[in-house]
Symmetry: C2
Subunit: 761 residues, 2 copies
């Protein structure tokens, strides 16, 4: 069930013909019929099959790797290990989001001297068949010297903790620590006078929160095929969120110019941030260079869990103070996020987002990026924000309760709005949090009483900033009035269509009249990753600019036909007009060949972003006191989409993000034994929610247009994962009187908390 | 051996850094290692294999087609015939080069009611394997009622000739004949007063010439795969000279909007004009629609000979008059070209080219397009010009001899130049025939005496107008200063490189720093066929325009860096400059991401053309009086390339065209028996020249810049096939005293002519 709230300023809202409609996605048929080619579907003549050998230890020194038995096996074509990688020590590169240590990036793809987590790739083989490769992998003899391991972030920060790297020092306020440390970075944000702020508070609440690592859980395991061609050119077919980012990462690691590498993005079965880093690609390239054939590598589900980036486990302490009339006056947050085996985790966005929903005059945030013996973390939908919101929104709920103010009212009293300065610096432009909270307050769900024992309703807000970055696109006009569109953004969530719709709107044609294509890195301009909820915003902006470029050229053709000044030709509602004359886009398209030839449009954009996505969730739960199981009775997600280009896909993002947040909140966790081994690396044991576990997620789209986009578009994909853990914790409290402060709030943990409070049966 | 003549105005010739060099072709590695994917290499999951059933008769009515036995064979998936085609009667379409009768185009792909030539496609089957398809094809029962056939153009013009079509009438001077006719069109060009012209002549010579049909003989037989997808979208992977032309032809025949069809051009193993028409594509699409799978169709060599377009057989009568001091005063030509089974042959260009090398004040040309029972003719390198030049250049040679003037001097005296009006109307701009003839006269070959019995030297000029038409391209700048280029012109003769070089020259970077891609019809703007020697000219022009578009945007970035007016930024020699500051293209490329994002350029052009390619050939032969065999001792081709972008490829075109002309002159012919059956439909019996049959063809490139192209480029691919038959006939005459006026001048025919003249041994 879906309801759409009135836009904030509906009377002045522009009337669109294509935006806001729900056309069938352009790639839909191929996906439902199985025709679409995913990376694992690729078959090339003469293809070899590789297998990666992974560490059985959470932390160990690699004493030796002996390939001789593997190489003696008939059908084995090549072997590789870190010895084949260039020396990347002290080499850094800007991969689009800041400086990256290439030695670390490389060592995560093939372990260099030490293994830092169970599942860490150590070596690889290529053979004529997957079976021979599997057999050969078993014949590679690797000697390890096991070392003590650490898998919890606070343990890893202790002075006597096992040290992962001797080249990682703590960076804090521009200073590096004297000694190597697992703590790679300390972030500090501050505004106002926190001490004075807390002195003004009538109520102060301080609490600690813990979250476990969870995985993005995309349905498609990583797969790629690489070819090192005889002319030295490298082609990679892969499942990636960013073909250009993949190209650059591989090029930097193997010390090739970017133009020597072509990345062909296959269809992708989910990413959620986890398919931004590279894993298999450089390994496949090295194997191909050695054997002269295309080499395919695929992961099993266990490889995915143990060898690719989950989201950080975290410890967050939040302290908030408010006056008795319900105004927040001071906040303090202390966050430690694990980065996994290499520095560079999600602590930055965590610190940016922890207080991002509220106007807090005096605030301080300290954050720590911590290495430990788990897979290197990767982005996961609003990376870092969910952990922070779990803490902040739980404390907000306690404050509201303590002050006896309705939790939505309390949030509305303190909601960030245009002009609010966030603790990390930025001042918000026009944003939609107030409208979102008002829509939640006005919703049928919020106004329907919830009755019955062990039942409770929770609410939480959430924020993700969303990014802009670079996108390119080109398009050409067909004689039948349709337009082909070439874009560089790999399509994970229906962006072929949401981008095509913006071009269609700009040209006054139907969405179906645009045929979008996602091209390889040789066939389209540079485009940043599909992530940060940026594609519909930034690539959509590129499509809009392409549309303007085409309109300009078409107007010149109309002027040619009419023998008038092109400046006199207007474009309105899909029709080119001048005084007394008019021609539709389609009619004019049929005349291009007679008026100077084809028309091609192009654009490359790098919009500022952020687009500021705010949401609020309402959830009703029933807790079973006998088992601790939490059943979700009803769930409503409210969100500001700026402009919902394709409302079904916005709703889909809201529903999908919410369900991932529910899984994170109630069930999912990396479960490590005392040797640092993950014991639940399969979908059977790592319990993600299925359609049977959740009700239909209701959605309310609010539209407060983004002033930095011609159609008002904001990113929508990530925000919905942020509120669920806090909303559920708040609901569980209302149902049971017990506050849970550790994720997952799984049946054993809920039951134990009830028991500790004397409430379990 | 290759020599390069001085450009006409070498002192003022621009200095290029990339144009005129010989970089390795971008697609070279994949082609020599076998990695390149040709249409027959394509393999798709679930692919079905089709087979076309072809007529055993040259002319027959189809009484019935019975598929029941074929359909009963296990593994047969679909059958089709013309019954599955839409009714195209009286439907016409502009396929880029004038109105085309769609009913005829369709009936050539699947015979409609009658078969018109042996090899005419009648029906097709698709099955799970090629073997089952072959078996099923044998089970299709087709009943024919044979009709009398005609295969020689003059026979087909006779009033009592077997009539092929009841819907073809002779169009002459805008009038249609009353009765159906095999003659579809009469062309008439005239300038001056021909009667008065001949009255001024001191010498008049009139001769008749005959040529046989010859085939383009590309090494790769036609192949394609088509998928009618579940959403109704059609994708075709094929070997084609024009992906957009193929798209339009299929769309028109199957009555689909062009945007419902995507054509993916595979690598192509030669075309020479013969891969512009479609044959298999609509059949594969119909079969795929019926069975829901991708269907692959491939031709055998016999299918290619019997089912695809050869060049017309022809009859040409030329009459020329000159004054005793060697000035041409009058000309008359009468040409009849066979069109094959359907109207629309190569008579137009034949009429345009017959007198195109000379200034003839009074001239008249009459041409006839004639249907007969041979495969529908297709373009073959300078289509129609070779037959005409064989006639005209032979008469020119006789005139020169009669007037006792050196044959090159005679041509120079009468050579067309800037301002000359051709008989069909156009007035030449700056052209290079005089320079070409002067280079021939100055050549080492011409100045080396030829001695010995049965030896002779011949010379002939040749012309092809070359075309412009539409091309689109886009390009984007990589951070490493390289540029990826996307174009729509399928690459037959190295045009990826010749086009990329023009972009490189424009941007001041190396040819290797441009990475060109040929894209499918969804990924690039409309681009006309690779034909008419247009690609290096027109798509090169698009690449130049793309370069300007990129330069403009890069200059803006430089201005941003320097905080100056973009208008003050100059681009010289690969460097952006303003007073006191400079930055190279590569340096600036690395800064794009920090100055506003990616840079993408685009262009779509429709240049006028023609680019006017003139050549002159010199050949030395020795004739064996015992066998009639003509041995080529030495051969030099001289040609105006305007600007030779990649001289090796220009030389390659000159050499390849010359050798094809030699094959046409000396050996090749469609040999029909009296039932209209081709009896030599294999490479064993249809004798194309091999490397053993010809010496290395020497080349002299003349460069008279084309004023209509920024780099002076002219088309070069077709002109070199035009002079060989006449040059060889003239050489044979000088060797033997006998003039041959029928092609091929094969050993039996030469021997017979010698015998008739009492000269054979």
């Amino acid at each position: 069930m879906t309801a759409s709230a009135k836009p904030a300023a509906s009377s002045s809202a522009p009337q669109y013909k294509v935006l806001g409609t729900r056309p069938i996605r352009h790639d839909g048929t191929d996906k439902v019929t199985g025709r679409a080619i995913y990376a694992a579907d690729l078959h090339l003549p003469g293809m070899a099959y590789g297998r990666v050998i992974r560490s059985p230890h959470a932390h160990a020194r690699i004493r030796s790797i002996d390939f001789s038995a593997a190489l003696a096996l008939p059908g084995v074509l090549a072997v590789t290990s870190a010895a084949d990688m260039p020396d990347l020590k002290n080499k850094f590169a800007d991969l689009g989001e800041g400086r990256v240590n290439l030695a670390h990036l490389g060592a995560n793809c093939l372990a260099q001297g030490k293994v830092l987590y169970r599942g860490h790739a150590v070596a690889a083989v290529a053979a004529v068949s997957p079976h021979v490769a599997e057999e050969a992998a078993k014949l590679v003899r690797i000697e390890y010297e096991p070392l003590p391991a650490v898998t919890w972030v606070l343990d890893a920060m202790k002075p006597n903790a096992p040290l992962l790297h001797d080249d990682v020092f703590t960076e804090s306020m521009g200073q590096l620590s004297d000694k190597p440390s697992n703590v790679s970075r300390h972030i500090h944000f501050e505004q106002g006078d926190v001490q004075r702020g807390f002195a003004q508070a009538d109520v102060v609440i301080e609490r600690e929160y813990r979250t476990a690592s969870v995985h993005q859980g995309y349905i498609e395991p990583h797969a790629c095929t690489a070819l090192w061609n005889q002319d030295g050119h490298v082609t990679i077919w892969t499942a990636t969120q960013g073909s250009f980012s993949c190209r650059q990462q591989v090029a930097e690691l193997l010390e090739l110019p970017v133009s020597r590498v072509t990345v062909v993005p296959c269809e992708i079965g989910g990413g959620f941030g986890g398919k931004i880093p590279i894993y298999l690609e450089p390994v496949a390239v090295l194997l191909s260079r050695k054997c002269g054939r295309p080499v395919k590598l695929t992961m099993t589900r266990s490889d995915v869990f143990e060898g690719t980036g989950p989201t950080p486990g975290s410890f967050v302490r939040v302290k908030l103070g408010a006056t008795r009339d319900g105004k927040l006056v001071a906040g303090e947050a202390w966050l430690a996020y694990d980065a996994g085996a290499f520095p560079g985790g999600m602590i930055g966005p965590g610190c940016m987002c922890v207080f991002s929903c509220y106007e807090i005059p005096h605030a301080r945030v300290d954050g720590y990026d911590v290495c430990l013996n788990k897979p290197k973390t990767a982005a996961y939908r609003a990376p870092g924000a969910t952990q922070a919101a779990f803490a902040c929104e739980s404390v907000i709920d306690e404050l509201a309760e303590r002050l006896n103010i309705d939790p939505i009212e309390f949030r509305l009293k303190n909601a960030a709005k245009e002009g609010t300065r966030r603790v990390d610096g930025p001042v918000y432009p026009r944003i939609g949090l107030v409208e979102v909270l008002e829509a939640a307050r006005a919703s049928e769900h919020w106004n329907t009483p919830l009755a019955g024992p062990w039942r409770g309703r929770g609410v939480a807000a959430g924020y993700w900033f969303n990014i802009g970055l670079k996108s390119s696109a080109s398009a050409s006009v067909n004689a039948d009035g349709t337009v082909t569109l070439v874009e560089g953004s790999t399509d994970i969530g229906g962006t072929r269509t949401s981008v095509a719709m913006q071009l269609a709107e700009t040209l006054g044609i139907a969405a179906e009249d645009v045929r979008p294509q996602v091209a390889d890195t040789d066939s389209v301009g540079y485009t940043d990753v599909t992530g940060g909820s940026r594609v519909t915003f930034a690539t959509g902006l590129a499509a809009y600019q392409v549309g303007l470029d085409i309109r300009r050229q078409m107007a010149e053709r109309a002027a040619l036909l009419w023998e008038c000044d092109p400046a006199l030709v207007r474009f309105e509602d899909g029709v080119f007009r001048t005084d007394g004359r008019s021609i539709t886009f389609k009619e004019l398209a049929a005349k291009l060949h007679a008026t100077g030839g084809p028309v091609v449009g192009r654009a490359a954009v790098d919009p500022e972003g952020p687009t500021h996505g705010f949401g609020a969730h309402i959830v009703d739960v029933e807790v079973d006191p006998d088992t601790g199981k939490v059943t979700i009775l009803r769930y409503t997600a409210v969100q500001d989409a700026g402009k919902a280009v394709h409302p079904s896909y916005v709703e889909g993002q809201m529903q999908g993000g919410t369900v991932q947040g529910i899984g994170w909140a109630l069930n999912e966790e990396y479960w490590f034994d005392d040797r640092g081994q993950m014991r639940n690396a399969s979908f059977l044991d790592y319990r993600m929610p299925t359609a049977l576990d959740v009700p239909m997620i209701e959605t309310i789209i609010v539209e407060v247009p983004n002033p930095d986009h011609p159609y008002g578009v904001r990113g929508v994909g990530e925000t919905p994962i942020v509120p669920p853990p806090a909303a559920l914790a708040n609901a569980i409290y209302r149902a049971t009187g017990v506050r849970l402060r550790e994720l997952p709030m799984s049946p054993p943990r809920v039951w134990a908390a009830l028991a500790a409070a004397g409430k379990s049966s």
